[in-house]
Symmetry: C2
Subunit: 338 residues, 2 copies
């Protein structure tokens, strides 16, 4: 099959690789209808992470079940499924506690930017739609494999609550989904920190009530003004850099929690401030499967349209251009069609 | 008056210092009935913190109101009061949110190991008992000025819940109070990590169901065995050292929270593990005043007896010996009588 592979910083290619095969009775193979590029894919692309040369890349996809192992009983070929990037058995103690991303039988999608994807623990991982979805719903369904669920996780971890204030640090696709999540959860003031007009526009469509363009100290000052000097009831840190983390702790009110979902890179947590101000940190790799039923319902009922984060759709053959566009911030998020 | 002063690492003395005076209408002066030495006083005593040479030290006390400023209307001379180490107006947005330790008019007790203590924001800070308490209740009341409320805060921050498991890292007075708090909150398994028999005994009186003597990797392995490999539902970090923090994150189950109340010294948070395992961190300087009414009720009704943490009582004149005893871990916590 054709799948995206990474060879060095800045070097992703569409390559011919072996078709995935069922090697365990809990596996399934999904024919990818749509995949996409994640902000976290840019870390290796930018040379910030180690690269296993020639390995496939891409962990987000939706598609149609092609084949299932003997123990996969709830799905059959032809089912349309959302595939959480992190695979889980949905039965271990961590899954039962809703923390599927720490599943004892954890696995990951490895060729979401390809024609087929192997799903480990398919029974506990995949969620299917009622019949085949409309073409127009595909982008939103695709966000449920990672980015929307991750933004949702940031809001849950930050303890967003009805009537409160939520500030989202980061205007990438995850941050925008965090805005949508905070809005759905009933936050009265939803502030996005963004200096990019197109992203601000999406944020407003997702329910942002305020946009703060300033960064660093000026950004923190703007948030304190919005919150009458108190700080935000909830802060969603959706970047993963040290600057974003420091800002998050600057603007969080005492007793609140910073929900973080950006893979941390070079972060030094301000533990003294956390201690003296009682500002907590929660979050991490999103337990997508835990949120999927609820989020799927919201999408199917048309109550949320997170697919708006895709401002570019490319054929899989142009995946390299997709990476370039996201790396240069010309595109928020790129959907890939095999 | 006589009050304890610190002059250098290892050098505390009982000195003659000016009597405190009412300088604001929100002040009160309390004649100290009992004060004590806090584990955090050992940081400067050990030279780990900067020392303001000759300054008074000691932030925990109970006593009798001697004099009040013009705006202090709920207290009069003769009232017996618990004085939270951190003073707060009880009216600002942070206080109204229960985060009194971040009060906009924050102050601290500065001569709790002395004859008199000045209380800023007395109206919002102090809590009085119904009449004069029995002598035997004084130690427990004294713990409410800091140590018991701090252990309680660790349990609250860690999200201890009925029927769950709580592990307390640290067998100092705060850790022991954390054991008591977790037990009162209904944790089914309360584990204390301790290798000191007298402290283990107090922990068991406070409701510990398990004692783990091992440290580091062996300690973590023991906790995992107790929790069937899952990790603890809640972890109370009551030390503040890097070793304690690392242990806490080793033994916390995915999705749980480490509640930390030990002033952090040389701590490097394991952010990668926090992210991949979704283990949060919450806590900090305890909002004593927020918990005081509830804790006072528990003490007065005889439902908790946190005063057991005082295994030594000394006259104020022997304060230097009290510091030595705690520094050398000969004593868990020393009560001082002016």
């Amino acid at each position: 099959m054709r799948a995206t592979t990474i060879h060095a910083a800045g070097d992703v290619r569409l390559s011919e690789v072996p078709d995935p095969e069922i090697s365990s009775p809990t596996d399934a193979i999904v024919k990818v209808t749509a995949g996409c590029i994640c902000g976290s894919d840019l870390w290796p692309y930018r040379g910030e992470n180690d690269i296993d040369e020639g390995s496939t890349i891409g962990h987000e996809c939706v598609g149609v079940v092609e084949e299932v192992g003997g123990e996969v009983v709830s799905f059959r070929p032809g089912d349309f499924v959302v595939v959480p990037f992190c695979h889980s058995d949905n039965t271990c103690p961590h899954c039962r506690a809703g923390m599927h991303s720490a599943c004892e039988n954890q696995g990951f999608t490895a060729s979401g930017q390809g024609e087929y994807a192997l799903v480990h623990q398919a029974e506990g991982t995949m969620v299917k739609t009622d019949g085949q979805p409309d073409e127009g719903m595909i982008p939103s369904l695709l966000t449920l494999s990672d980015v929307m669920a991750t933004g949702w996780h940031a809001a849950v971890a930050a303890g967003v609550r009805e009537g409160g204030t939520a500030v989202v640090v980061g205007d990438g696709a995850v941050g925008l989904c965090g805005v949508l999540a905070a809005s759905v959860m009933g936050a009265e003031q939803v502030v996005v920190m963004s200096r990019h007009q197109p992203r601000q526009d999406i944020a407003r469509q997702f329910g942002a009530t305020h946009v703060v363009e300033e960064r660093g100290e000026a950004g923190a000052a703007a948030i304190l003004e919005i919150t009458q000097g108190v700080g935000s009831d909830a802060v969603l840190e959706c970047v993963g850099t040290d600057a974003a983390i420091q800002t998050a702790f600057e603007i969080a009110r005492p007793g609140s929690t910073v929900g973080f979902v950006g893979v941390p890179h070079g972060v030094e947590l301000p533990i003294r401030r956390m201690f003296s101000r009682n500002i907590g940190l929660a979050g991490g790799m999103a337990p997508v499967r835990a949120y999927l039923p609820e989020l799927l319902k919201l999408v199917v009922e048309g109550r949320i349209n997170p697919g708006l984060v895709f401002d570019s759709t490319l054929p899989l053959s142009e995946v390299a251009e997709g990476y370039r566009a996201m790396d240069e911030r010309r595109s928020v998020k790129v959907l890939l069609q095999p």
